[in-house]
């Protein structure tokens, strides 16, 4: 039995057809697209095609609005730092408490540089309060950066409406859409979104390539200055093979958009129902009625996520966790904390993120495998009795914390 990969919000498999399309660009078509000769020219044409494919999935009005970068994080940094550079008199940033570290850590650093960062709070389902947001928009705000969909829970934010509100207030709006592109249909030309980040490896393209969408007319200051690549907006020789892979990945994602939202969603729903039916004291986190079709985050109370993952890994099932111990930093998930998930549950959250390569048969195997793992770990847990949580778990076991 082959292993089951349910960690597609972390990264995805590169489609074999994409690998095949990329290969000639390492050997035969290795030219620098900036060169005049035919070695370079052909690559330049292939990049143009890829740019068009990305333009299409985003629904961008012009292909010149697509800037290729090295990753989603670079796109995020470029967007936010550009907005600050272009508006030096504006010293405030609006973002959310549940952003990816690519945005959150940058904002925390900017705070030490004298910027004021407003982090929008979320409720217990991970939803934003748009009234709080409206009150913060002002002439002092340089940029709003809000993710389109949350990587841990899949919760979708109303970025189109929020961009509209920012635009009316004369504020730039950026969205980190690395989890959303390819799973949610989008048509950026009809929105007020000024900047958007995309990451190739989240949608079956290779790692090391990303995109910054920059709406025409948006004031911009490059992060990397140097050569004239990307119309002088991102210097550095193009990662041609990966860009070409990303172009094809976007085309494939367009073709599979319906499959993602029907079949993948059905597998996700079956997984949720199957596990919750068999495991007591477990619940899904986030806004379950408004989330990505591929994402399921379940909190298993009274046990710890890393232990669950290790036992699942032993059975050939790959997922991820919001527990403190699975991250190199040892920080518990800021997303779970922000939603007010109780301590004894936040550490036991497991994220299952599916892709179009999963099958219903795999999902049934996971539904079989998970309940005994949870039971085994609960047997070791001081919060768990014979058949359920001990009475008043928080009082029955109240350790001295160091």
């Amino acid at each position: 039995m082959s292993d089951i990969y349910l960690d597609n919000n972390a990264t995805t498999k590169v489609d074999p057809a994409i690998v095949e399309a990329m290969l000639p660009f390492f050997t035969e078509q290795f030219g620098n697209p900036s060169s005049l000769h035919s070695f370079g020219n052909k690559v330049g044409m292939a990049l143009k095609k890829a740019r068009g494919q990305v333009q299409k999935i985003l629904g961008a009005e012009h292909d010149s609005e697509i800037i290729f970068t090295s990753c989603g994080s670079e796109s995020d940094s470029t967007a936010i730092l550009s907005a600050l550079k272009a508006n030096p008199e504006r010293k405030e940033i609006i973002t959310t408490v549940v952003e990816h570290p690519a945005v959150l850590n940058l904002c925390e650093y900017l705070e030490t540089e004298g910027y004021t960062v407003h982090k929008l709070k979320v409720d217990s389902k991970g939803r934003l309060d748009l009234d709080e947001y409206a009150k913060l928009l002002s002439d002092d705000v340089a940029v709003v950066s809000v993710m389109w969909a949350n990587n841990e829970t899949g919760t979708i934010f109303p970025v189109e409406k929020m961009a509209e509100m920012a635009d009316e207030a004369g504020v730039l709006f950026h969205t980190d859409a690395v989890q959303a592109v390819g799973k949610i249909p989008m048509n950026l030309q009809d929105t007020a979104i000024h900047m958007l980040s995309l990451s190739g490896h989240k949608l079956h393209a290779p790692k090391g390539v990303g995109v910054l969408y920059l709406k025409r007319g948006t004031r911009f200051r490059p992060l990397l200055r140097g050569g004239h690549q990307e119309r002088g907006r991102r210097a550095g020789t193009e990662n041609s093979a990966s860009i070409i892979g990303l172009g094809l990945a976007c085309e494939q994602a367009m073709e599979h958009m319906e499959f993602e939202n029907v079949q993948v969603k059905a597998m996700r729903d079956r997984l949720q129902e199957g596990i919750l039916a068999a495991v007591p004291n477990a619940f899904p986190t986030g806004d379950v009625d408004n989330r990505l079709p591929n994402t399921l985050n379940i909190a298993f109370e009274y046990i710890e996520g890393e232990a669950i993952l290790l036992l699942m890994n032993k059975m050939g099932i790959a997922a991820s966790s919001g527990s403190a111990c699975t991250s190199g930093s040892l920080e518990p998930s800021h997303v779970m904390k922000a939603m007010g998930i109780p301590y004894t549950a936040a550490h036991g959250t497991v994220r299952f993120s599916l892709s179009r390569y999963n099958t219903m048969e795999e999902i049934e195997r996971v539904i079989e495998a998970v309940p005994p793992i949870v039971a085994k770990l609960r047997k070791l847990s001081p919060y768990w009795g014979e058949n359920g949580p001990v009475e008043n778990p928080e009082q029955a076991f109240a350790p001295v914390y160091a």
């Binding site: 890994n313 032993k314 527990s323 930093s329 550490h347 047997k379 001081p382 001295v400 160091a402």
Partner: protein
């Protein structure tokens, strides 16, 4: 994925002594805030002999927390309470063939659970005596609380000093930004401004100029002699050996050692061995040795690596 040893995996997949011991007479409940792990250790102690007859654990935590708990119960069974209390967190980690630096606190938690359970058995109140913060230096597993406390206690003002006192930043150096930020905050609190070291060769010169009293090696030092000038060469060498001997525990704690090679007037030639040899802090260590020798001998002594000894 963490780099867990086979022993850790074995104790995680098949933990020993899981569950509470029936008729336990010593219970210790502790947790580690940085990881959110928590552990209850139950002991059954023979009141006559104070031998631990049985031990069991219940753990809410990650793989290495469960493995450390399992290891701990295996290690204490059959020992007397006093013997068991000698187990250090490093012993637990060693029993498991090592833990990743980020996970060393799991072994600390094990040791604390043991102390808490013994205190509970003896009817004493156990209180934790150390705080744990976010990990700053991953090479040497030094946390923020440790770095801040050391900066405060010793009025440190440079990254080099922090490295000399705590080892933090002495490895890959990628935590230097974090250490500079801590220095900035702690120095601001005492009304000073942090000035970063110069780069490149200029920095190296500055470090060289610093006096070797940077190195803090806790070692009892023989009373400073009025002057050792009246001593014979053999007496001098014995005295130097005494000083080195007194410093050895500190060096050995870092898996290093020092050996005396030659004494030529006021120049003492030594070899740093073990982990000390090739360590980027070797110059500092030599400086520390020199300082102690000067104090003990009551005269100026120069400590030189034996490799720089002129050929006979």
């Amino acid at each position: 994925m963490w780099d867990y040893s086979e022993k850790v995996k074995e104790h995680f997949y098949n933990p020993k002594n899981a569950g509470a011991v029936a008729d336990a007479n010593g219970v210790g409940d502790v947790g580690s805030i940085s990881c959110g792990d928590a552990l209850r250790l139950t002991l059954k102690v023979d009141p006559e002999t104070e031998i631990i007859l049985d031990a069991g654990f219940q753990t809410f935590g990650c793989g290495s927390a469960i493995a450390s708990s399992s290891a701990l119960t295996e290690m204490v069974k059959g020992k007397t309470l006093d013997e068991a209390l000698l187990i250090s967190n490093q012993d637990i980690a060693d029993f498991l063939d090592g833990l990743p630096p980020e996970k060393m606190h799991c072994s600390v938690m094990g040791r604390e659970a043991l102390q808490a359970a013994v205190a509970n058995y003896r009817g004493e109140e156990w209180s934790d005596d150390h705080e744990e913060g976010a990990l700053v230096c991953k090479c040497f597993a030094i946390d923020e609380v440790m770095v801040r406390d050391t900066i405060k206690a010793n009025n440190l003002s440079s990254v080099e000093e922090v490295t000399n006192y705590t080892k933090a930043g002495g490895g890959c150096s990628s935590c230097h930004e974090a250490i500079e930020n801590l220095l900035t905050e702690e120095m601001a609190a005492r009304g000073e401004t942090f000035v970063p070291a110069a780069s490149g060769k200029k920095k190296a010169k500055k470090v060289e100029k610093k006096k070797p009293d940077l190195v803090e090696i806790e070692a009892p030092v023989a009373k400073p002699a009025a002057a050792s000038a009246g001593l014979t060469l053999v007496q001098r060498i014995r005295k130097i050996e005494d000083v080195l001997e007194a410093m050895r525990p500190a060096l050995r704690a870092d898996n290093g050692d020092v050996e005396l090679v030659d004494v030529d007037g006021k120049t003492v030639y030594v070899n740093l061995v073990g982990a000390c040899s090739g360590c980027q802090m070797a110059a500092m260590t030599l400086g520390g040795i020199q300082q102690k020798l000067i104090e003990a001998m009551g005269e100026f002594i120069k400590v030189i690596p034996a490799s720089e000894r002129p050929a006979a």
